[in-house]
Symmetry: D2
Subunit: 252 residues, 4 copies
């Protein structure tokens, strides 16, 4: 898909660059600047040979591989991607710890938040890992977790979302200020934002968040962005994957 | 109070630099580097007269006033403050949009979150402002808000906090992974973090968050830090207040 | 000019977005992402009305004006500009203090620096200001500067540039490592870089560097970028000028 | 040495934390905040066990090692160091590309720059490497460099520094504005700055600048800061060295 197709929400082809995530989330690549050839040009400015780039694709790929291998990061800062993201609040809480993105998020002070709630799929409901403090075990639960039933957990979360939603509506209908009424919303509530980031900083995000220790619910967003970034800079993204997942167990 | 008193939690004087905030929150100034004299030295290095500083307090105050007036910000970056903060999640959500702080926050993946919930005082419960999209009106509600009763609102929020707490405990007792069980927690739940920031960036935070358009619940944290920063750099903080609240309606 | 014309150096139309600066410098707008409509969309996401944008240009301008007036900066972070800049080292020294740009600069370690030297025009040669520590007076020099002759100053600088150039070449011809030979280069030597920045951060740069207290030699680069940014977001740039130069004494 | 000794320039013990570098440069650790125990506390806040820290040094070292091994960086951001540095302009040019430091540097617009010039020692004068584009060879020069004589190179650089110094003085005595006269100064001229940085970002600096591919003249500053940082957080610095120079070929 070319950049210049009218990627305007509401128009038929807008979702061409969309990946659906979780029960009601998505990541959309809505704009970008630059490509593999711009990475090469930025690297070559350092030895004033910038403009050979784009003539010889073999040497470009070799240069990009070498930049990634040696950790030369500044050329990847001139490629910029803009995403439209819908995710639960607890995912955005982790996301916003990445301080080099630009964020514009829906505000529950300015308008009512009404984008649904996260409900885990049965296969993603898991027990507390006994070996990893932050982990979740979704297969072969130990006997001590025998009381746990994925369907029951799903019901409890779904019911709680409904209760929170009703309480939120009740407060709003009483005339309570939006900024105060929203305190009853659980972190499972979906919100939406634009997030803009350079390819260099996107790689740092993905290295952490597509890692097997990252929480499943943010990992799927990270994996989706890795896939979408291939539209922008396919050579750089492939070399990044080769370096970080050399066994081929890549997160696509 | 001198910096070198043993400001160790659990020891008697730890809370000397603490301000209690909301129903169960606090801000503690737990460490810092630099003072007014360091601002002056950093400014004077630009004309290589750094070391006169500290000899003549009158001229130091005059220099600091001039730096603040003309917007020369880099000298204020060499003074650094470290806070220990307990606040509701919806306050941290706003806080973390400030991307130049260093944050280390409690994780509900690593341990159970059990620090209570925000309950507004009756006098801080207010109606949606009709004139300010993001605002709250706490006095002289218009007749259309007659159905709103602060005591009733308080009860609804308190009851919802209890329900959420019970549901969270229930999921944990079933063995559900902490990172998943926490999705039912409302954004009223308290969390805790260390936040480290330069005086320059603290001023930017306070300018926005002690403003009358900021949400009440973050404004009280911002006001508390302004007060605590006076222990570190009294002249600079006073000049900052004089510039931003010239009418004397300052947020202390 | 449309973005999609082939803005490739060496091709005829590359310099369409170029401003020549000083005796041998330039600023070229080589790529960008976003426009006025994207600022509006990023602002409206906060109240979930993002996609009305672009339908009603009058209301868009009003919203942008309001954002600039109230200092709401995050919507301007989703518009990104990439410049190709040739400037003297002492100008880059000031430029690089702006820490939110992405930079890729020619390296005198990797290749010989051979882009000429800054030579001031006669009308920009001036005396030390007696009233402003950092200033330069180019008109009506006081009698005590009577010994200063702009033509003589110009000759001294030009001759020194030649001497430095010869010494640099001599060291290189002796086989001295490039990274060492370059230490004799004066800060008048030209270098070149790509610089990528959001519109928000470009505005911060221009506010400081197009100010009357900024050094003339960086001011002309700042003024040039202000002019070029109008191709990208004409409404936002005009509102920015209106706010910062209300008397019409704008830096274009 | 304790932090609270009066580390005031001009007083006898100020240079206790100084490392002399190159022919006329230095790095001084002039202030800091935090220590190993603060890294541990920041890490433990994530599981709300912050205050055990400091009781059991063995477990603290183990935790710090684990943080470094797994790349958990935020706890290292709460330890902050402030350096006073005198270095040649070409070294500061590389230094300032690190955008997460706070810098306050002497300005040649505000005062005359008069701190001497870099002159390489004979053993650091080297030929252009034929195998590394950015490298310098100081031993066993190939025959094609036979014309190069370290003593001659030293003389050429020293003489050029003198010429530049005289030209600079001449322009100043003619009354030329300082900001313009300085354009004849070579990048070998020394300047001075305060630089403030978190331990996390200092580690990033040292990883790049104490590397064998870094230019010798910045490497010595990087190595000096590594040594000085041991006064602040000895365990963390040792674990950092162990990870990055596992063969014991560390840059101290």
């Amino acid at each position: 898909m070319e950049k210049n197709e009218p990627a305007v929400p509401g128009e038929p082809n807008f979702t061409a660059h969309e990946v659906k995530v979780l029960n009601a989330g998505f990541v959309r690549l809505v704009d970008w600047m630059g490509s593999d050839v711009d990475i090469v040009r930025a690297a070559r400015v350092s030895y004033q040979a910038a403009w050979r780039a784009g003539k010889d694709e073999g040497s470009d790929a070799k240069l990009i591989r070498s930049l990634i291998k040696r950790g030369h990061t500044s050329p990847f800062e001139h490629v910029v991607l803009k995403f439209d993201v819908r995710a639960p609040i607890f995912v955005f809480r982790q996301w916003h710890r990445h301080r080099v993105w630009s964020y514009s998020e829906a505000s529950a002070r300015y308008s009512e938040l009404d984008m649904g709630f996260y409900e885990p799929e049965r296969e993603n409901i898991g027990a507390q890992s006994m070996t990893e403090k932050q982990g979740r075990v979704t297969e072969n639960w130990a006997p001590e977790n025998a009381t746990m039933n994925a369907t029951a957990v799903q019901s409890i979360i779904r019911d709680h979302n409904s209760v929170a939603q009703r309480t939120y509506r009740q407060l709003l209908e009483m005339g309570v200020a939006r900024e105060l009424a929203r305190v009853v919303l659980p972190v499972s509530a979906y919100s939406q934002m634009f997030g803009t980031v350079s390819l260099h900083n996107l790689f740092n995000f993905i290295r952490l968040r597509s890692d097997s220790h990252a929480q499943y619910e943010i990992r799927v967003y990270s994996d989706a962005m890795l896939k979408l970034a291939k539209h922008v800079a396919p050579i750089a993204v492939q070399e990044f994957i080769n370096k970080n997942w050399p066994e081929g167990d890549n997160p696509e």
